[in-house]
Amino acid sequence: MSAKVRAFFPARGALGFSLPASFLLTLSLGIWCYMFIVARSTGTARIAAWIVFSGIMSLFFLLLRTGQVSKYRRVFFVAIALLFFPEFIAQLLETRGTMMLGAGEILNNDTPYCHIVTGVVFLPWLVTGKVVFPAGTGAIASMLIIWGTATLAIGRGWCSWACFYGGWDDGMSRLARKSRLKIGPANKKIRYFGFAMLAFVALASLGTLASVYCDWLCPFKIVTEFGAVDSLRSYAAFLMFVLLFFGLVIVLPFLTRKRFQCMSFCPMGAFQSLLGKLNLYRLRIDKDKCIGCRICSEACPTLSLSLPEESGGKRIPIVTSTCTRCGECMTACPNNAISFGYVFCRGKSLFGGWRERLEGRKGAAAAALRRITGTLDELLSAHALFVYSGFFIGMAFLSAFGTGTVNRLIRLVINGSFLLR
């Protein structure tokens, strides 16, 4: 490829991909993205679909080419959260006329299933065979299929790539340049508080056969749906929701630059940590490149890089099960010692042996083969497939809600109304 063409695209970063690999991966995701988002849309929805499509493709290409995983992932992730809620609330207002749940919806199991309660309802379901959440079988099954697939594909990466709630505190945790409330990576109690929350809400839900988290503790109730506020008990619950939302999702992430809600309060995050080992990818720290500077563990927004005890040598951080694979540590590492890897082949390239054999050979065929195997290595690398999977799952949520919000914004400009009915 000529130098002029190359100069048109952003420079390749240390963890970035070559132009052919970046193009091929973007093209592949683009086909899926077109089918999910653009293909069946009409009218203003088609314009909205193309806007969302272009956004996703640009972010994905930039992420691949520059290797700045955390930066472009965050833009994508925050966009998922910000575009999800207006559409969700608007749909509620159009169908129900209010964000409040009525007794009818609860009794008829007519609410959308929220993935956060999966870990909460699991134990009562295991023991009693009943799901203590007022959603229908279809709603539960469809969300469990998406979540189960995502768990196999990206593990706890769900919390940084797909969850439409996580974008709130991820975005808030990066608004301030400096943390005003210091929380160090040595603080194990905060890191494991999420597991305590999971144990608490799962056991309390088992004891009462009700979803205690939804009844009292969900910070996202005020931006989705909540029970009717018509009694002293419901006023108290609503006050809890407001306080938890502003405290855990807005204020604490802003002050600490840590993802407080996802790290220490979300039962789904803890549940996902327990199941996270089921997927193929792990965060790898190259022990030769790592100088033990601990910048990565300070930068980690979920305190997931713990430091081993002082033993004279360099202190190489240990990646704990709470890692959400957000890529913040990769960006922070001055030596590019951190990357995604497969659980089955540590640091080896799949086609490295082939390239070594081709190394001494001359001629156009050998050069072409070297280039092809190099690109294949990039395409099949854990780094490429992980970010591809992350974007794919996030894109599925954007296709359902993001396009709707952009469409509503277009209609707002044209018709002056955010609601379609």
Partner: protein, 212 residues
Amino acid sequence: MIQEGLLLGLSTGSFCAISCAPVAIPFVFSEKIEGWKQNAGLVGLMMLGRLVAYIGVGFLVGALGGYAVRYLDPEIQRRLLAVSNTLVGALMIASGLMHNFPGLKFCRKFKAVYRAGWGSFLYGVFTGLNICPPFFLAASRVFGKGDGLSGMLYFAMFFVGTSVYFIPLLGIHLFKDRLETIRMVARLSLILLGAYFLLFQGIFFGAAGRFK
């Protein structure tokens, strides 16, 4: 009589275990357990506490006979449950704080009087007084007997039947590889569950007439 109590316990004991799990599991995991003997000792004392509570209730309900109908009155039942939950919540918060913040003045004072064995026994008593549906059913069978001893015997057998569902608690020491992390999580969840029992299942539940 003996058979009926035992069979009722065996057939409905899973509900008892479900009701007691939020208290029993975090407590047993939060204590420092070195081996199976210590684990069995703690679980045994908790079971003893449950047995004492069961026998006490069985005697009272059996002896009071027709008067015990008042005990089965939903309003009194709710208040008794609220008091029991408040006490168990307070105990959970206190022991959770003691484990997590040993430097605090209150925690130092509490630690001086706290013994794991007594704690275990008290948890057993409180969970034994937890009026779950099987417990309610057993009580309703006993109050017609008009005999305290028969009531005690019925509840003792009911206890034996329900205790089968607590056997898994004897295997906690098997998690020894991960016990340090699990213990930390259990100690934190003790505080959370304690606060939940104290506030929501205790105080708010007790004042439910006004908290609607």
